[in-house]
Symmetry: C2
Subunit: 369 residues, 2 copies
């Protein structure tokens, strides 16, 4: 095999497939990138058996063939080469020579035949959305998935398609993040759970342009994202996702409107006096026109008032400040509306159009302080 | 005590003295910043007994007094306050109230009398140089001090003043970095060893402007740096520094001139194939007009040629690539001259004016490969 690339193209494509190379594995072949130029195109593939990425690489095929190269070494070399023409050539022992200007590397390769192809899936049911939208929707929900693996379903996100709507849901038992997106599609209703890892990695390689599209194909056990010259194939998480509709109520006793950035800065300051291990709630005291934040810890005490617009009852309620911050930080609106029922019921941060809903459970506090 | 500041001034001054707050100590008072407004000025002090920093803070004294506040908490609060007027007020129990707009913090303080003043030193012998020069000189030598404390003298840098010249030397047993600087001063000859920690911290708070001066006062056990509204007092390291003149020779058998950036990129690429733990040398093979770098490791092999200008004999010599990179990266010249004697003698990277000299010991290699 002998291939010729531009160094920038090469570095870019290696960067994309690297996202599917596992950091640890018992199968050494999975730590490789497959370079496949058996036919008329050059294709790079990486596959950790949960997540697989394939991308077409611009380049010239001087001699057809395929080879699997250690992903880390190959990526390190490619990134450090000068911005010039790069030649990759293999010999009969799979030793691969990478040449660029006056630099020449020899590294051992593995037979490309040892590398497992990505499973083929049907491409019948699909939706198309802009790459920017998909990236934003992931960013605005992914922080709510559970970190630990006790409940596998909580480590993924629900992707639900119905009636020209894509609904993305993440939850971890203390909070729920929901984003709704209008789509135009003929897709039959779908309800699948996508691993958080897939979504994290894919949002790093999406272009983030509103004009660039990504097509998402649904199959029984896989989801396939296709965009630019790349396909990302992800195994789905098995099981029935949580019924969240019954947790969402539109009744409320108190509604406030507050400047988002001011609220963030204020919570930020309140948490200065809390050591991470303390799990001290921030106490929010809502009266007419004013919200008072209080914290009282071993380090000291803090209180601060923020102007709000309020309708409904006064309320005193405690929250884990991190959960409030996580949600407030990903919202784009300048002002947010927050809805409360009572000190033991979750609050909702949501917009009028229903584009986003963040549900956060309160922390029990002694309201008779 | 009651003081009024602008938040930016306050954050800036706290940032400066924080550099002398120890991360760990058995004496809690050392983890405090002393706010002293007993007289007509407001002064912040921190002191870890090796390194002390004092800075004058712009602000209004509404009521005189002094207080010691936990440095980390105080700094965290100050940085997160809105950019507005900040009031710091203490009560009779040393509880300190920090108010800014609608935010109010109460934190415990300690009596300012418990805080040790910085030692007073004579201000007779001194030199003045630009802050930029001092910062550059530190940056261009500090990487050569020893990391471990086996030989205390190697953890500091020699500051030698004689004949209108400041010489700064760092060495770790494998390499020496020397910077010479012309100065105009009436200072008597000096030879002191300044702790590396002091130099690291001070270079973070120097302005880096060529027009701003720093005055360095020499006393028996201390060095005092004075610049802007700040003084930095550092204990010196005891002992007689190494005689390095006898290690520096101007004889050579081979001299090369090479493009610095090209050489750096080439070494960078060569080290891709070396695991940190391997301590594999890079082998440099110098012939007419050309230098070849080679590395041959368990991961693979690499060689690359670089154009050079050469006078003298051919030579094959091995180096720890990190030592070459460290020196090459801090030199400002586009082309550098490197001098060799033989494969077992150190090489010298130096300019014609003698502004900098970097000596690097070679690694033994089998030259008959």
């Amino acid at each position: 095999m002998k291939l010729i690339f531009d160094q920038q193209d090469l570095a870019n494509s290696v960067g994309i497939v690297m996202k599917a190379v596992p950091s640890k594995t018992t199968m050494p072949i999975l730590q490789c990138i497959l370079i496949d130029a058996s036919f008329s195109q050059i294709k790079f593939t990486a596959n950790d058996m949960e997540l697989g990425i394939e991308t077409i690489v611009p380049g010239e095929i001087a001699e057809k063939g395929k080879i699997a190269l250690d992903a880390k070494i190959f990526s390190d070399i490619v990134r450090k080469l000068p911005n010039s023409r790069v030649t990759i050539e293999t010999n009969e022992n799979d030793v691969t020579t990478i040449t660029c200007e006056k630099a020449k590397f020899d590294i051992p390769g593995k037979s490309g035949d040892d590398f497992a192809d990505l499973p083929k899936i049907d491409r019948n049911d699909f939706i198309s959305i802009s790459q920017l939208s998909l990236r934003e929707v992931i960013r605005q929900t992914i922080f709510s998935i559970a970190v630990n693996e006790n409940n596998k379903l909580m480590t993924g996100e629900l992707f639900e398609v119905s009636n020209n709507k894509l609904k993305v849901v993440a939850l971890d038992g203390h909070r729920i993040a929901i984003r709704n997106l209008e789509i135009s599609s003929e897709c039959s209703p779908k309800r699948v759970v996508v691993p958080g890892k897939t979504l994290n990695e894919i949002s790093k390689i999406l272009s983030g342009e509103a004009d660039d599209l990504v097509t998402i194909y649904f199959s029984d056990n896989y989801l396939l994202f296709e965009f630019d010259d790349t396909v990302v194939l992800s195994r789905l998480i098995d099981g029935e996702y949580f019924k969240i509709d019954q947790m969402l109520s539109s009744d409320y006793e108190t509604k406030i409107e507050v400047n988002r950035q001011e609220f963030i800065s204020c919570i930020d300051r309140a948490t200065l006096l809390v050591r991470e291990s303390d799990k001290m709630p921030v106490i929010i005291d809502i009266t007419d026109e004013q919200m008072e934040l209080q914290i009282d810890s071993a380090i000291g005490s803090m209180d601060e008032e923020i102007d709000i617009e309020k309708t409904g009852k006064d309320i005193t309620i405690g929250f884990n400040p991190k959960f409030l911050l996580d949600a407030l930080r990903v919202i784009d609106d300048e002002r947010v509306s927050i809805f409360f029922v009572n000190a033991k019921a979750p609050c909702f941060i949501r917009d009028e159009e229903g584009n986003y809903i963040y549900l956060i459970l309160p922390v029990n506090i002694n309201v008779n302080r």
